[in-house]
Amino acid sequence: MTAEVTLLRHADVLVLGGGPAGAWAAIAAAEAGADVVLADKGYCGTSGSAAAGGNNLWYLPPDPALREAAMDAREAIAGRLTERRWMERVIEETYHQIGRLAGWGYPFPVDEGGVERRGSLQGPEYMRRMRRKAHRSGVRILDHHPALELLATPDGTAVGAAGIRRQDGGGRWEVRAGAVVLATGGCAFLSGAFGLDVDTGDGHLMAAELGAELSGMEFSNAYALSPAYGAHTKGLMMQFASYYDEAGRPLELGDMGTARQAVARLLADGRQVLARLDQAPPGLREAMRRSQPNYFLPLDKAGIDPFTQAYPVRLVMEGTVRGTGGLRVVGEDCATTVPGLYAAGDVATRELITGSVSGGGSHNGAWAISSGTWAGAAAAAFATRGEGRARSRPAGRAGLRPHGPATGAAAEVVRAVQDEVLPLDRNYFRTAAGLRRSLTSLDRLWTDVAAHLSGEGRGALRARQAAAMVAHGRWMYRAALARAESRGMHQRLDRPEADPRLARRIHVGGLDEVWTAPEEPKEAVA
């Protein structure tokens, strides 16, 4: 990376990513007295899955019976990978912080009984408010400042980041900080899924270059239904859907829990599937429109009335955004295995509260708020200890500083990764043989990327994103091989049963050499 440094800032805490997790982290750090810079790849307020899509929340009033029931319900499907203590903490923190959001003026709806309903957030409104609150808290926001690499001390402590100023001449920016919060989201491999193209796993790669470990990366094959012509993955309304084949014959696919997998099988086999919201009671239809405007908007624009017209669907990959894997957190403050580096939101593993099944919007949304708040506060505390800010080195390698002759073929790399991770037959329906085949390609790709890939200006970001996606794919499939069973969203056609010995999390890490290791169980596995 040759660009000249045209912006240099110092801060106590640097937050990378301006979705909900990053915004909550920045606010928490500022409230702890830290001087905070938040750098977003795009624009804090529109970036990330929450801004575009909105989400329900794992939001539960402080009624012990209600909360116990919610945790029991999640544990029943979560594959024994959750921790009750973390669930309790997230529920409590989310409840508290949403109360503050209401105080900041978020316009929650009021129900028939006069009670404010706080369990759902409309994305654009939510993130507009969060940006304003961060700004008023004194956070310095740098939009269109994608981070390309972390800065680290010789002993490996994270002390800042650097990237490009893509709307300001493409020069290099550097922020030297006392601690860094990664809130860069999951990775959806540029699948086009609604609002997720900003999520390319950049933070995972940056962290791994400092030796960070990951967990739950096998739970990375979330797919969601969208109209076939678009990529609008809004799922809640599909509870009213009936499905039809290309000839208009009804498909009997069971309830919502089984329908998605049946649809996946049909689509993977090259069949066409159409959906129509037959089962929506007419009296609810106006409420549906008001509640999920961005489900209806792309249909309205296409002239389709989903209540009366069946429309073709496809499954769009949402990867680790709606999957659960990510950076391993090793403390209640969301510290990673790298000193000075904290993880918040979808970049972190969400297994602790949602296990082997998708946290959807609801759990992931609550996690963003809670983990962001904890990570921000902890980063502020770490920064005040002022460990080794003076000497640092840039840590970026693959896609940024190749060790051989440079080429700029990022688009080809992206296509090659997508060929391995997007197809349902490779990622949704997994087999050991298929995973090994894909890993052979991905490993070769990594060798090539590490040796040659780089770019200039906006191309520097594209190259780095491509490298991040290759790394992500390799962690996903290594973990998927190590989990030689089926559990939650991770389905192995060759191992259709759950193996009780694998009721534990699987760690993964490494770049040139990828490793996996099952977590030591804290107690005897039943």
């Binding site: 575009a52 086009g192 678009g230 549906m288 959807g360």
Partner: protein
């Protein structure tokens, strides 16, 4: 993807250039934004939501609209009232009620939770499907 920037409506405020999370727009020589990197558009409608004068139209397609598509016909889109629809639903702009006040998602999440089966995939559900499709 983004298809239309209305020259007539645009007030050169540059908000779309700034808020697009994918950096799709660039400032044109006359100050009116141009669609500089359409391939990067993720069809998230955020520019439409933030444009204060409803000068933008994002087609619902995940790829570029084909030549001659009605999605690129500004006059027809204006005529049909297709521009600014998302902002209206969000309740952004003077005199509007925030759309979030009308949010009734609690009805639908409760309905889902009351269903007999969880909405998440379970090994049992998977077996039922990949084995014998249910009748």
């Amino acid at each position: 993807m983004i298809e239309v920037v209305s020259q007539d409506r645009c007030v050169k405020c540059d908000v779309c250039v700034k808020v697009c999370p994918m950096d799709v727009f660039a400032l044109g020589p006359d100050g009116i934004p141009v669609i500089a990197r359409q391939d990067d558009c993720q069809t998230c409608f955020m520019c439409e939501a933030h444009c204060p004068v409803d000068a933008l139209f994002v087609a619902p397609l995940s790829g570029p609209a084909p030549a001659g598509s009605p999605y690129t016909d500004e006059a027809a889109l204006l005529e049909a009232g297709a521009m600014g629809r998302y902002r209206a639903v969000l309740g952004w702009g003077g005199g509007r009620t925030p759309g979030s006040r009308l949010d009734q998602n609690h009805v639908f999440t409760a309905r889902l939770a009351a269903g007999s089966q969880p909405a998440e995939e379970t090994p049992a559900g998977r077996r039922r499907v990949s084995g014998e499709p249910s009748a």
